[in-house]
C-alpha cells in the first residue's frame, strides 16, 4: 500500500475538480501549481526508486485493493521502470503544456485547465494500472478531455467534422480492444495482469485477439493505414491539444503494446501477424516522412513527422519481439522505443510550441509566407534549433540515442528493413531544415518582423526547459536505459514460453 502512488493518482483528479469549480482567471495558477506539485512528487518517487530491482521486485509503490467481486477486478496499481519513465514524461510535460498556454485567452479558462488535469489523471492511470479493466477504463478516460479540448478550442470552421472523426476512430479502436480483453478475461482467472499473461488460449484465438487489441493501439499511434484522423486533428486542435496528443497520448499505445499486447499474445508475433505489423510500421516511417516533405502547413508537417517517428518505434518493438519469440532474447527494440518515446515527447511538444510561436508572429501556418525571424529573435532561433536537432536525431541530443538503438534492433532482424527505416534520419533533416530555413532566414515581411519581437518570458521558460532535457538526455541516456531494462527483460522473457 503506497500512499505516494495514491496521491499521484488522485492529485490531478481532485485538482481538476477544484479548477472546474473555481470560475476565476486565477484558476490557471492553481492548475499550474497542481501540475508542478505532481511533477515534484514524481521526482521524489524517482529519487526513492530502485533502478535495478530483481525481477520479482519489479513493481514498486504497489497498491492492491479489491474493487469488484462482480467482475473479478482489483484496483491494482504499481510502478516499474517503464511506468516510471512514462510518468516522468507525463508529469514533466503537463506543467509545461499548461504554462505554454498562459499567453492565450482560450475563454472558459478554468474548464480548459480542468480538462488538462483530468487528462493527466487518465494518463497516470494508464501508465500505472496492472489490471486489464482498469487499463481500458483509464485509456478511455483520456479520450473525453482531449476530445473536448479539441472540439471547444479548436479551429472554428473545421472542428465539428474532424473531432467527430477523431473520436469515432479512437472509440471504435478502443471497443475492439475491450472485446479482445474480455475474451482473454473469459479464459483467465481474473483481470489481473499476470492472470491475463497466463490465459489459456490457442494460436487462432491469440491471433484474433492480437488484431483486436492491436487495432486500438494502431489507431492511437497511428500506424500506416489507420492514420487518416491524425493530421487533421493535430492541425485543427489548439496547440495544447496537439501537444497532449502527440507528446503524451500516443505513448500510451507504445506502452500498451509492450505491457499489454505482446506478452498476452506471443503466438501470432512468431507467425505472419508480427511481420505484417513490422511492414506496416516501416511503410509508415517512409510514408510519413515523404508527406512531411511536401507540407507547407507547419502543424501538418509536424504531424506527419510524428507519424514517421512512431512508425520507427513500432518497427523496433516488433523486430525485437519477432526475434524473441524465435528464441533469441532481444530487448533492444523495447529499450529503443521507450527511450525514443520519451525523447519524442519532449521534441514534438517543443516543435508544436515553436510552430505556435511562429503562428503568433506571422499570423499564418503556411511556412512559405514566413521568413527572416532569426534576425529579430535570436533567442528563439537558438532554442528552436536545439529542439529541431533533437528531432533530427543528431548525436548528443536525446533523439539520437533512441533512434540508434531502434535501427540497430531492426538491423538485427533484417538489414533491408533497417536501411529503409533508416531513411527517416535523412528525410527528417530534409523537412525540418526546410521548415527552419524558410521560417528563420530568407525574405520576410518587414512590417511583421518589426513588430514580431523575441520570446516572451513564458515562451522562453517553456522552450528553455525543453532544451535542457534535449541536451541532458543526449549526453546521459544511461539512467533511462537502465530504468527500463528489468521490466523489459521480464516482458520479453514471458513471451518466450
Amino acid at each position: 500500500m503506497s500512499y505516494l502512488l495514491l496521491t499521484l493518482l488522485l492529485l490531478p483528479l481532485v485538482g481538476s475538480g477544484l479548477v472546474f469549480a473555481w470560475k476565476n482567471p486565477a484558476s490557471k495558477y492553481l492548475a499550474l501549481g497542481i501540475a508542478f506539485a505532481q511533477m515534484f512528487l514524481t521526482f521524489y518517487m524517482l529519487s526513492n526508486f530502485d533502478f535495478k530491482p530483481t525481477v520479482d521486485g519489479v513493481l514498486q509503490y504497489e497498491i492492491n485493493y479489491p474493487w469488484s467481486n462482480y467482475i473479478k477486478s482489483n484496483l491494482h496499481f504499481g510502478i516499474d521502470g517503464m511506468s516510471m519513465l512514462m510518468l516522468l514524461l507525463t508529469n514533466i510535460l503537463t506543467p509545461l503544456i499548461i504554462l505554454s498556454s498562459f499567453n492565450e485567452k482560450p475563454g472558459y479558462r478554468n474548464t480548459f485547465y480542468g480538462l488538462i488535469l483530468l487528462m493527466q489523471f487518465g494518463l497516470v492511470g494508464v501508465f500505472t494500472s496492472l489490471d486489464g479493466l482498469l487499463f481500458y477504463i483509464f485509456w478511455e478516460v483520456t479520450l473525453i478531455p482531449i476530445w473536448l479540448i479539441a472540439g471547444i478550442w479548436g479551429q472554428e470552421n473545421k472542428k465539428v467534422q474532424f473531432t467527430t472523426r477523431f473520436f469515432v476512430y479512437t472509440f471504435v479502436g478502443s471497443l475492439f480492444m475491450l472485446i479482445g480483453l474480455i475474451y482473454v478475461y473469459t479464459h483467465s482467472a481474473s483481470f489481473a495482469l499476470t492472470d491475463l499473461y497466463n490465459a489459456d488460449l490457442n494460436e487462432l484465438q491469440q491471433t484474433v485477439i492480437f488484431w483486436f487489441i492491436f487495432f486500438a493501439f494502431a489507431v492511437k499511434l497511428p500506424i500506416f493505414p489507420f492514420h487518416s484522423w491524425q493530421a487533421d486533428t493535430y492541425t485543427y486542435s489548439p496547440t495544447q491539444g496537439s501537444m497532449l496528443l502527440s507528446g503524451i497520448m500516443l505513448k500510451m499505445a507504445i506502452f500498451g503494446l509492450l505491457r499489454w499486447l505482446l506478452p498476452i499474445t506471443p503466438a501470432p508475433i512468431l507467425g505472419i501477424s508480427g511481420q505484417i505489423v513490422l511492414v506496416l510500421a516501416i511503410i509508415g516511417v517512409v510514408h510519413g516522412a515523404l508527406i512531411a516533405i511536401i507540407q507547407n502547413d507547419s502543424k501538418r508537417l509536424i504531424a506527419y513527422s510524428s507519424l514517421s517517428h512512431v512508425g520507427l518505434m513500432t518497427a523496433g518493438i516488433m523486430a525485437s519481439a519477432i526475434l524473441t519469440t524465435k528464441g533469441i532474447l532481444m530487448i533492444e527494440g523495447g529499450e529503443g522505443a521507450l527511450v525514443q518515446a520519451f525523447a519524442h515527447g519532449i521534441n514534438v511538444v517543443g516543435l508544436f510550441y515553436c510552430a505556435d510561436i511562429l503562428y503568433k508572429r506571422f499570423k499564418t501556418r503556411d511556412i512559405r509566407q514566413m521568413g527572416g525571424l532569426a534576425r529579430v529573435a535570436p533567442k528563439f532561433a537558438i532554442l528552436f534549433l536545439v529542439i529541431l536537432l533533437g528531432s533530427i536525431a543528431l548525436p548528443l541530443t536525446n533523439g539520437f540515442v533512441g533512434e540508434f538503438i531502434l535501427i540497430k534492433s531492426i538491423f538485427d532482424y533484417s538489414i533491408i528493413a533497417a536501411v529503409i527505416a533508416g531513411t527517416t534520419m535523412i528525410f527528417s533533416s530534409v523537412y525540418l531544415f526546410r521548415f527552419y530555413g524558410k521560417a528563420m532566414f530568407g525574405e520576410g515581411d518587414e512590417r511583421i518582423l518589426e513588430t514580431a519581437g523575441d520570446l516572451t518570458g513564458v515562451e522562453f521558460a517553456v522552450l528553455a526547459s525543453l532544451t535542457v532535457f534535449v541536451i541532458l538526455l543526449g549526453i546521459f541516456p544511461q539512467p533511462i536505459i537502465e530504468m527500463v531494462n528489468t521490466p523489459l527483460k521480464f516482458i520479453f522473457t514471458s513471451m518466450m514460453n
Binding site: S68, Y70, I71, I137, V141, I152, T163, I179, Y183
Partner: protein, 459 residues
C-alpha cells in the same frame, strides 16, 4: 403484493386528489406513495404473500426490479411538475395513469401464470395509450396514441393466440408446469408455435426490430415525460417479462427460439443505429437509440448464468437513469424552443451547465464510455455472451461504434458553439437541479463502484 397494493391505492388517491387542485396534490401524493412503496419493498414483510394462488411469486428478482422502477418513477414525478406545467387541466389523471401503468409493471415482475402475464401487459399498456395522446392539441400526440393502440392490439392478439396454443399443448397456464412440459416434450410443434407467437408479441412490446416500427413515431409524438416513462419503466417491465417467460417457461426449447432472437438482434442493431445516425431531431434519435439498446440487452439470452438477471437489472437501471437524464434536458429545451432538433440545444452548456453535464454524462453512459454505469452494464452483458456467441458481440460492438456518432452530435451541439442561443434569464428550478445532480452521481457511482449497486439491491 403489499407494494402492488400500495401503488394501486396511491394511484386511486392521486386520481381523486385532482378534485381539489390542478394536479399539484396528485404529484405529492404520488411521490409520497412511491416512497412508502420503496420503503416497504425493503422490509422483510415484502415476502408476505410470496406465492399467491400460483398467480404471483414475489422473489428476489421481483423485489429488485420493483425497486428500480419505483426509483425511476419517483425521479420522473419530480421533474413532472415542470414537464406538465403546460397542461392546464387533467394533470392528476396523468399521474394516476402513470401509477396504474407501474402497477402493471409490478405484476409483470412477479407473474407466475400466463393469465397474470396477460393482465400485467394490458394494465401496463392501456394507460399508456391514453398518456401517449394526452397532449390533445398536438396532432403528433394523437397519431402516437392511435398508432400505439393499434400496434398494442396486434401484439395482444399474437400474445393471446400464443397463450392459447401453449395451453392447448401443455394443458396449463402455470409457468413452471409449462417449463416441465417443455423439458419433457421439446419437439411438440404446437408448443413451439405458441412460444414463437409469444416471442413475437413480446418483441412488439420491447420494440425489437422488425417489430419496432411503431416506436420512433410513438416516442416522438408523446409528451416528452411520457416518452421518458415509456423508455424506462415500461421498457424495464416488458423486457423483464420477456426475459422471465423465455428463460423459465421456454427454457426447455431454447434451441428453437435462440436463433430467431439472434436474427432479431442483428436486424435491431443495424437498423436502429443506422436510422439513429440519419436523424436530425434529438427526440427521434433517442427513440432509435432506445430501440438499439433493446438490441444490446437481448444478448442477455446468450451464455446465461446465475448472475444474468442481475446483469439485466444493472443494464436496465443504468439505461433508464441515463434516459431520464437526457429527457429532462430535452424537456427543458423543448419548453423554451418548442422543438427538439440538435440545433435547439446549441450552446446549452453556457447557460445551464448542470443540465448539459447531466445530459452529457447520460449520453456517454448510453454510449458505454467507462466510469459510467452504461459501460459496466454493457461490459457485463458482453462478457457473459462472448463465449457462446462472439459473432453477435462483434455485431453489438460495431453497433455501439455507429451509435457513438449520433450521441456525440448532441453533446457537440451543447458544448462546442462559442455562444449560446438561450436567454440568460431562464433558469431551471431547484428540484430540477437536484434530480440532475442525483442522476450524474448515480451514473458515475454505478460506473466506479459496481458492487455498491449489488449491495443496494440485496445481492
Amino acid at each position: 403484493m403489499s407494494v402492488l397494493i400500495i401503488i394501486f391505492l396511491t394511484a386511486v388517491a392521486a386520481l381523486f386528489a385532482g378534485v381539489f387542485e390542478q394536479g399539484k396534490f396528485s404529484r405529492y401524493i404520488g411521490i409520497l406513495g412511491l416512497l412508502i412503496a420503496l420503503y416497504v419493498s425493503y422490509l422483510p414483510e415484502f415476502s408476505f404473500f410470496t406465492q399467491y394462488q400460483h398467480m404471483f411469486e414475489f422473489g428476489a428478482n421481483a423485489a429488485l426490479f420493483t425497486k428500480i422502477t419505483i426509483v425511476i418513477t419517483i425521479l420522473l414525478f419530480f421533474i413532472a411538475g415542470f414537464a406538465f406545467s403546460n397542461h392546464r387541466s387533467h394533470q392528476s389523471e396523468l399521474y394516476a395513469l402513470m401509477l396504474f401503468s407501474l402497477c402493471g409493471g409490478v405484476i409483470l415482475f412477479s407473474f407466475q401464470n400466463l393469465v397474470t402475464l396477460f393482465l400485467g401487459i394490458e394494465i401496463l399498456s392501456i394507460p399508456l395509450y391514453v398518456l401517449a395522446g394526452s397532449n390533445k392539441t398536438d396532432l403528433r400526440s394523437n397519431e402516437a396514441s392511435i398508432k400505439y393502440f393499434l400496434m398494442g392490439a396486434f401484439a395482444t392478439g399474437f400474445l393471446l393466440f400464443g397463450v392459447a396454443l401453449i395451453y392447448g399443448s401443455s394443458g396449463s397456464f402455470d409457468l413452471y408446469k409449462i417449463h416441465e412440459f417443455a423439458v419433457t416434450n421439446p419437439k411438440n410443434l404446437m408448443f413451439i408455435l405458441g412460444a414463437v407467437l409469444m416471442l413475437v408479441a413480446l418483441a412488439f412490446k420491447v420494440s425489437l426490430a422488425p417489430f419496432h416500427m411503431w416506436s420512433p413515431d410513438v416516442y416522438q409524438g408523446s409528451p416528452s415525460l411520457i416518452t421518458a416513462f415509456m423508455m424506462s419503466v415500461v421498457k424495464i417491465s416488458a423486457f423483464f417479462a420477456f426475459f422471465k417467460l423465455m428463460t423459465i417457461g421456454f427454457l426447455g426449447i431454447t434451441g428453437e427460439w435462440i436463433n430467431i432472437i439472434g436474427v432479431l438482434i442483428i436486424i435491431t442493431l443495424f437498423l436502429a443505429n443506422v436510422m439513429g445516425l440519419a436523424q436530425t431531431n434529438a427526440k427521434r434519435m433517442l427513440a432509435y437509440s432506445s430501440v438499439s439498446h433493446v438490441g444490446y440487452l437481448t444478448l442477455i439470452f446468450y451464455g446465461m448464468n446465475s448472475l444474468s438477471s442481475y446483469n439485466l437489472a444493472f443494464y436496465l437501471f443504468a439505461y433508464s437513469l441515463a434516459t431520464v437524464g437526457v429527457m429532462m434536458c430535452l424537456i427543458w429545451v423543448e419548453k423554451l424552443k418548442r422543438e427538439t432538433s440538435y440545433n435547439a440545444f446549441r450552446g446549452l452548456a453556457h447557460t445551464e451547465p448542470i443540465l448539459a453535464v447531466t445530459a452529457t454524462v447520460s449520453l456517454l453512459s448510453m454510449a458505454g464510455i467507462p466510469l459510467t454505469a452504461g459501460f459496466m452494464g454493457k461490459f457485463a452483458i458482453f462478457a457473459q455472451a462472448i463465449e457462446s456467441t462472439p459473432f453477435l458481440v462483434l455485431v453489438a460492438v460495431l453497433g455501439s461504434a455507429i451509435s457513438i456518432a449520433y450521441y456525440l452530435r448532441l453533446i457537440m451541439a451543447m458544448f462546442f458553439p462559442k455562444e449560446s442561443s438561450f436567454k440568460t434569464s431562464e433558469k431551471v428550478s431547484l428540484t430540477y437541479n437536484i434530480v440532475a445532480v442525483f442522476i450524474i452521481f448515480a451514473l458515475v457511482a454505478m460506473g466506479v463502484f459496481p458492487d455498491l449497486f449489488a449491495k443496494q439491491f440485496g445481492l
